[in-house]
């Protein structure tokens, strides 16, 4: 039994987002909020204080009318692998709140361990982490829609995208109950992937050649954000437009070649 166990290859769950298809409609943002019990306040227009595990950024090519072009870029947590699981946030957390899971490649966040030092927020180059400055308040009635699989957070803790890890747990439990060792590709999908009306988000095991993400990430138009920092993120983007690919990292003005590290 133990021997057999070893043969299950470690998974590396990741995402490929097709920016040519993404319309910036915001369905992924709301699917995430609804799935993960993300709270809301009266004013959410100060985006530094607005908790959005997945936020859509608007990119522009900076050219004047009529050469202007825009592109939307959804940014979940990148679940950086770094070198051997040393994601920027994992390395700085003093309370082992956030850890790189070698089995799934998911960077965890255990709210009850967090005491709010926010080192991880400072370390994250993607602004993917949010701090609860206030206790969440659900207006009368709205507590009824809270999802029991995801614990609501409180004031003083940091939260972020978990690749809907509770969904993985549910899928795994189901597979185990049915005597299967592996979770099928369709059994574990994040809420944003499931919701996207444009089908722009693909999610799966980057190590598994049978999963759609495996092939997609090899597209010549695929890139990752701030790759040069060595964060080794697991979220890939695809864009056929060069200016979009270029805005994924910092380049010198005279630098022509975009090369993956």
């Amino acid at each position: 039994m133990k021997e057999e166990h070893k043969h299950i290859k470690a998974k590396k769950y990741g995402m490929v987002i097709d920016l040519d298809k993404c319309t910036g409609c915001g369905a992924c943002m709301v699917a995430c909020m609804a799935e993960n019990n993300v709270p809301f306040k009266e004013d959410e227009t100060d985006k530094l204080l607005s908790i959005t595990w997945l936020r859509i950024y608007k990119l522009t090519n900076g050219k004047p009318f009529p050469e202007t072009d825009i592109c939307y870029l959804p940014r979940p947590c990148m679940h950086c692998e770094g070198q051997h699981g040393h994601a920027p946030c994992v390395s700085v957390c003093p309370a082992t709140v956030t850890d790189y899971d070698m089995e799934t490649g998911i960077v965890s966040q255990i709210y009850t361990r967090c005491f709010g030092c926010r080192y991880c927020m400072a370390a994250c180059p993607y602004h993917a982490r949010y701090f609860n400055w206030w206790d969440p308040v659900w207006p009368e009635g709205m507590e009824k829609y809270l999802n029991p699989n995801v614990s609501p957070r409180m004031r003083g803790v940091v939260e972020k995208c978990s690749f809907c890890f509770p969904r993985y747990q549910v899928a795994k439990d189901k597979a185990m109950a049915e005597g299967r060792r592996e979770v099928e590709e369709h059994e574990y999908q994040t809420a944003c992937t499931q919701a996207c009306p444009a089908g722009a988000i693909t999610f799966g095991d980057l190590n598994n050649p049978k999963h759609a993400v495996y092939k997609l990430k090899m597209s010549p138009n695929a890139f990752r954000l701030l790759e040069r920092l060595g964060t080794n993120p697991k979220v890939y983007y695809i864009s056929s437009r060069e200016w979009v690919r270029r805005s994924g990292d910092n380049y010198l003005a005279n630098e022509v070649k975009i090369k993956k590290l």
Binding site: G26, A34, K58, F65, E140, N147, A198
Partner: protein, 758 residues
């Protein structure tokens, strides 16, 4: 042992080192962080059995299938229904946040309410259903007994489906022809369909099979048509299966997604369509089989009196050559010519119109006619990848209403808006004309107004005039589930269930190619003392008695719905929808029911001459250029619901900070124009139009044509809850209603404006 300094220090150090080496400090930090999070006010969601209920979303006319995840008796999440013919698993952000409408107790109406304060103030007292029904019944009997039956009217969100038809039936039995629906592009599309093809049908677009879409400002990925279906079509095109050319003055998301964006002077779209037609005709690129055999009025023709009438060909060749159109539209002649050629050369080209989401206004008829003519020239009428006409599902076959004398007399009275009369013979509902008529007349043509599934005070242009008109109506009955602007203006509210609590049929999503009915089902038990609007109508009819009561022979709405849908019910109950997938659009030999049995470019006998149908004039903009040098246009966004439903908190949270900052809306302006006005990013400004003024902030956007400014629809609510109300500006407060000269429908697309530094 004597405790000296040395032993004291070494003991102290030993204790410190020992503690540090033990797990105690780390355990304490961990425990403290856990203990300090166990506050009673952090909710712990109840667990329970998981199950899913399928239903249909009604928050927009898209008709998407949804599945609601339930834990015990709580609904916890809305998701898209896999394999559904409209949205196949996809769902938009408004649909996803549907539970905030259900459980948003602050925005819901919980019991029947009677107004006690001033109109619009929102002070109501709770009353029982019996009191509410008898009060409305008494009012209706009183009006009827004074011979004013026709002065009872109804504004409905749509005229499709059993609930809307029951309302219409109620008015008929009561004795009033004054049923209205809210304006949308479908009004103009259906009129164009009638004029060119002689049929009353829904227009459908075979977008899944089209390989070249020429969009005249339609927000393909911003909520036009059935939104999720359009998103999926757009992704298909992005996979290389089609091209999109977007024509509009602003780089919208659709424009950014398209293969080519052609900025155009707003309001000149019809001229461009005719210009493209002239190139196609001049270069003889049109579909000869269709035009020569199945179209009438292309060449010049002789009318009954023997007089020669100008046909479409001569009309566009003479009046809309590319040189002239280039001047009108501001688009290069070469671009026009190459666009016309690539449109024709595509194997399945499709031209579509209806700006933005196409839901706020009906639009100019000449624009829709010109777009239709382009489709006809490439022969894609009722063809794969083209524009189709789909018969409206005829499942509502109720016995004819038996009318008493009062009803007979009332129904013959002319409609308030003159729709269907000699002045506007082909339009069904002209709600846009009503505020003006009410405000100018001495008498009150409306004594009682029903409002169902619509929020006219918010959504009709020129809010001030609409409110003034509503002030003249002595008695307003609201049926809304939410305390929206119009409900706040009502004298009495008989609240409907929220869509997740009720049965309702949702037929024919906008632009879908097959006859289709979706079923909304109760997902959970009603949260409050509300009633299905269908049942409320039955109660009112029962109260009035006589032939009115007899017109509704059903025990309750559910029975009525089941009987009406008869053999379709099982499929609806099981799958959540019914579809006639076998339907193919009629072939050219049988498709056209006009006098000539052909597709008519000229609508013989219906229009005065061809110029009145297609003729382009640029005089549709309110305000003079000297005092209002800029042009204000609206834009729609998926993240801002702007119809009957207001943004729930989740959707508000998704609104960008370049659209709304605090309580201020940002107006889009080209940096060059802003520079001339001395404005910079984020600065405050006063926006003035001939209709109203507003305080806004400025957002510099390179993607908008200089001289044009754009404001989003969907903000500026004065009702709902603190998450939505009081933020930004309602675009309708700044714009007037402009009547289309031919159809009489609302044709507003923008207004002249002035922006001054504040």
């Amino acid at each position: 042992m004597k405790i000296d300094r040395r032993s004291f220090l070494s003991l102290g150090m030993g204790v410190a080192a020992g503690t540090a080496l033990s797990p105690l400090p780390w355990k304490l930090i961990d425990d403290i962080s856990i203990w300090t999070q166990m506050w009673p006010w952090t909710p712990v969601p109840e667990i329970g059995e998981v199950n899913y209920v399928n239903s249909t979303c009604t928050l927009c006319p898209g008709g998407c299938g949804i599945t609601v995840r339930k834990i015990g008796d709580r609904a916890v999440k809305v998701e898209g229904k896999e394999g559904h013919p409209i949205n196949s698993g996809g769902v938009c952000l408004l649909g996803l946040s549907g539970l905030q409408n259900l459980y948003g107790y602050d925005r819901r109406i919980k019991t029947p309410l009677k107004r006690i304060g001033n109109r619009g103030q929102g002070s109501f007292q709770k009353i029982t259903w019996d009191e509410a029904i008898s009060e409305v019944v008494n009012k209706l009997s009183e009006v009827r007994s004074t011979g004013q039956a026709h002065a009872v009217s109804c504004i409905s969100g749509s005229d499709q489906g059993t609930v809307a038809q029951l309302l219409k039936r109620f008015l008929t039995a009561y004795g009033s022809p004054n049923f209205f629906t809210m304006p949308s592009m479908q009004d103009s599309y259906e009129l164009a369909l009638y004029l060119t093809q002689g049929i009353q049908a829904s227009v459908a677009f075979d977008v899944e099979n089209s390989d070249f879409v020429l969009s005249f400002g339609s927000g393909i990925v911003e909520g036009w048509g059935s939104p999720v279906r359009m998103f999926q079509a757009s992704s298909r095109w992005r996979e290389g299966k089609g091209k999109v050319v977007q024509i509009e003055p602003r780089l919208s998301i659709t424009a950014a997604k398209s293969d080519k964006w052609i900025p155009i002077k707003p309001g000149t779209e019809a001229a461009l369509a005719l210009g493209l037609a002239s190139v196609i005709i001049k270069e003889s690129l049109y579909d000869k089989e269709f035009v020569e055999n199945y179209a009438f009025g292309f060449e010049n023709w002789k009318d009954d009196a023997g007089k020669t009438q100008i046909g479409f060909k001569q009309f566009v060749l003479e009046g809309y050559g590319p040189d002239k159109v280039a001047k009108i539209t501001g688009i290069d002649k070469s671009t026009i010519i190459s666009l016309a050629r690539s449109f024709v050369r595509a194997s399945k080209p499709l031209a579509i119109g209806g700006r933005n989401q196409g839901r706020s206004t009906s639009g100019r008829l000449n624009e829709f006619m010109a777009i239709y003519a382009l489709n006809a020239l490439v022969g894609n009428i009722n063809k794969t990848g083209g524009v189709w006409s789909i018969p409206k599902p005829g499942y509502i076959k109720w016995p004819k209403v038996e009318m008493d004398d009062v009803a007979e007399k009332g129904i013959k009275e002319p409609r308030i808006d003159a729709a269907g009369s000699a002045s506007y013979p082909y339009s069904q509902y002209l709600l846009n004309r009503v505020p003006g008529i009410l405000n100018s007349g001495q008498e009150n043509p409306i004594q009682v107004l029903f409002v169902a599934g619509a929020n006219p005070i918010y959504a009709l242009p020129n809010t001030k005039a609409v409110k003034e008109a509503f002030d003249k109506i002595p008695y307003i009955v609201g049926f809304s589930s939410y305390l929206d602007e119009t409900a706040k203006y009502a004298d009495i509210i008989l609240p409907n269930h929220v869509y997740l609590e009720r049965y309702e049929d949702i037929p024919t999503p906008v632009g879908f190619q097959k006859p289709f009915i979706g079923l909304a089902k109760p997902v959970i038990a009603p949260q409050f003392e509300t009633k299905n609007l269908g049942d409320t109508i039955f109660l009112l009819a029962k109260g009035l008695g006589g032939t009115i009561e007899k017109a509704f022979p059903w025990d309750d709405y559910e029975t009525c719905l089941k009987e009406t849908l008869s053999e379709k019910w099982d499929s609806l109950e099981e799958n959540g929808y019914w579809i006639d997938s076998s339907l193919k659009p009629a072939d050219w030999k049988n498709a056209f029911k006009t006098a000539s049995k052909k597709f008519e470019f000229i609508a013989a006998g219906k229009a005065k001459d061809i110029a009145s149908l297609f003729g382009f004039s640029s005089s549709t903009l309110e305000g003079d250029e000297a005092s209002y040098p800029l042009v204000l246009i609206p834009y729609d966004s998926m993240r801002l619901a702007n119809g009957f439903i207001g943004d729930p908190p989740f959707v508000m949270k998704a609104v960008e900070d370049t659209v709304l900052k605090g309580k201020d809306v940002l107006i889009e302006i080209n940096p060059e124009t802003a520079k001339q006005l001395g404005m910079s990013e984020g600065g405050f400004a006063k926006l003035a139009t001939p209709v109203g003024t507003a305080k806004v902030r400025v957002h510099l956007y390179d993607g908008i044509m200089p001289g044009i400014i754009a404001l989003p629809r969907g903000l500026g609510h004065t009702a709902y809850d603190k998450f939505l109300g009081g933020k930004g500006v309602n675009f309708n407060e700044l714009i007037g209603s402009v009547e289309d000269p031919v159809s009489g429908l609302d044709a507003t697309w923008g207004i002249r404006a002035k922006l001054t530094k504040a």
